[in-house]
């Protein structure tokens, strides 16, 4: 995906979100570290443009909710969770760059439940690459990309990587 395709996909997701929620009432977005955060910001900006309503955006770090902390051989950096609004009663859209095994989404759901009681939680992803290990699906998908497990899907965003681009390559050394 190039920058224009990414823009169109996020614009469509923004419309789908508003349609599913029947407006912006009670709507809020939460971006998952790292690249879900700028993506959530962009969706919120699109909604602001065509609905004229500001949608609150928060950031979520799922590190302390990972299910592999007892076994991994490195220590993931813990980053800030910042939800500047009350989650309770909100229709939340959780935003991430790639949906793969579903483990990040599972961790994010647990983290959100500890922070409040949203009325409903949607999941929006730029790329769904398949290979789920948990019963989780996305409500809004930018693009479905069939992949092999040996492949790597890399989403790049201007805010973090200096460019907007989705790349697919073969993992080295497999």
């Amino acid at each position: 995906m190039n920058a224009e395709e990414m823009r169109r996909a996020l614009y469509r997701i923004a419309h789908e979100v508003v349609e599913a929620n029947k407006g912006t009432e009670g709507l809020a977005l939460v971006g998952i570290h790292t690249r879900g955060i700028p993506l959530a910001g962009r969706i919120a900006r699109f909604i602001g443009e065509f609905e004229g309503k500001e949608v609150p955006v928060g950031t979520l770090d799922i590190t302390l909710y990972r299910d592999d902390l007892t076994e991994i051989g490195y220590r993931p950096e813990v980053r800030e969770t910042r939800i500047p609004f009350d989650l309770t009663g909100k229709a939340l859209v959780l935003v991430d760059d790639v949906l793969y095994t579903g483990r990040t989404a599972r961790a994010a759901l647990d983290a959100l439940m500890d922070l409040g009681r949203p009325r409903r939680i949607y999941l929006a992803v730029l790329v769904d690459r398949g290979h789920r290990e948990l019963p989780i699906r996305a409500d809004f998908v930018g693009k479905n990309v069939p992949t092999a497990r040996t492949e790597v899907v890399k989403v790049k965003v201007v805010e973090v990587d200096g460019e907007d681009r989705v790349e697919l390559w073969e993992r080295e050394g497999v």
């Binding site: 770090d61 590190t63 302390l64 902390l69 991994i72 051989g73 813990v78 800030e80 910042r82 922070l115």
Partner: protein
């Protein structure tokens, strides 16, 4: 980092990474549900060969907030059997599957020795006069919260420096973060040379233009040993409102507790807006959560 014994061999980036994690933990403690599942499946033991309520409770709460299981061992042993009983106690705990040991002992070096006896992570919860690294970390965190940075800041530490592991760990850690540390005590309570810090028998020299003042507890045992007279100490070294006027306006006050009101610190100062004592206690839990995370996660099983 495999253990936390003191700050020998630490660099600024490692300290800052730990304090960054502590900042996230601090936010966890503000939530309605003050608990995360990060250390599920790990077991933390607090092993206190010397009694201490605050530090033990702070560590146990930190471990529980991270969802670790906690076991607690408290004992006082006769000095004759100490060497053996320390080791036996730790080996027993290891056999029960403990992953991290928080060790407090009245003799210096016990946590260091423990690293040779057990496979798990060892955290020094205070050993003799040597070190109390998590207290220094929570002090540094609290100072950073109040001052924004420690770069170039003058920090005065006042009281029984000679017998204080808090002062010694602070003297190791705070300069790593760029602080200028001045330690003031009566000559009989001043150690011989600590590298990288200023030692002075003149309270005024330490307080003058200080950005923050840390007051240490004066222990009764020191008076009983004839090292100082209470009245003399109060007259010349008590941190009072009048003396504190030498420091920068609104310079915050820290005290590791427990406090002897109107001995080392004028009582009303302890309750003033300048006192960060309660903040230190709250930050202590967050800093210890961060230490447990840094020591336990990433080793593989």
């Amino acid at each position: 980092m495999r253990h936390l014994l003191d700050f020998g061999g630490w660099n600024r980036a490692e300290v800052e990474a730990l304090l960054d994690t502590a900042r996230v933990m601090r936010e966890v403690l503000e939530r309605p549900i003050k608990k995360v599942p990060a250390l599920q499946g790990f077991t933390v033991a607090t092993v206190f060969f010397e009694p201490s309520t605050r530090t033990r409770i702070s560590f146990e709460l930190a471990a529980r907030r991270m969802s670790a299981d906690v076991v607690s061992f408290a004992a006082q042993t006769s000095s004759l059997q100490k060497g053996e009983s320390y080791k036996d106690t730790l080996l027993t705990l290891e056999a029960m599957g403990v992953d991290a040991y928080v060790i407090r002992a009245d003799s210096a070096g016990v946590p260091h020795q423990a690293t040779r006896w057990v496979k798990g992570a060892v955290i020094n919860g205070g050993d003799g006069r040597r070190a109390h690294p998590t207290q220094a970390l929570l002090d540094a965190y609290t100072l950073l919260e109040a001052l924004g940075t420690l770069e170039g800041k003058k920090i005065a530490i006042v009281g029984d420096i000679l017998h204080s592991r808090v002062a010694r760990s602070g003297a190791e850690l705070l300069p790593l973060l760029g602080a200028r540390v001045f330690l003031a005590a009566p000559p009989s309570l001043l150690p011989q040379g600590l590298p990288g810090v200023h030692l002075t028998p003149h309270l005024e020299e330490a307080l003058e233009e200080a950005d923050a003042v840390m007051v240490l507890r004066l222990q009764k045992e020191r008076m009983e040993a004839g090292l100082i007279h209470l009245e003399d100490y109060i007259a010349r070294y008590q941190v009072t409102e009048r003396r504190l006027a030498l420091a920068k306006p609104q310079a915050p006050l820290l005290h590791p507790g427990p406090m002897n009101r109107d001995v080392e610190l004028e009582g009303r100062l302890a309750d003033s807006a300048r006192s960060l004592v309660n903040r230190q206690v709250q930050n202590g839990v967050a800093v210890r959560m961060a230490v447990l995370y840094h020591l336990l996660v990433g080793k593989g099983r």
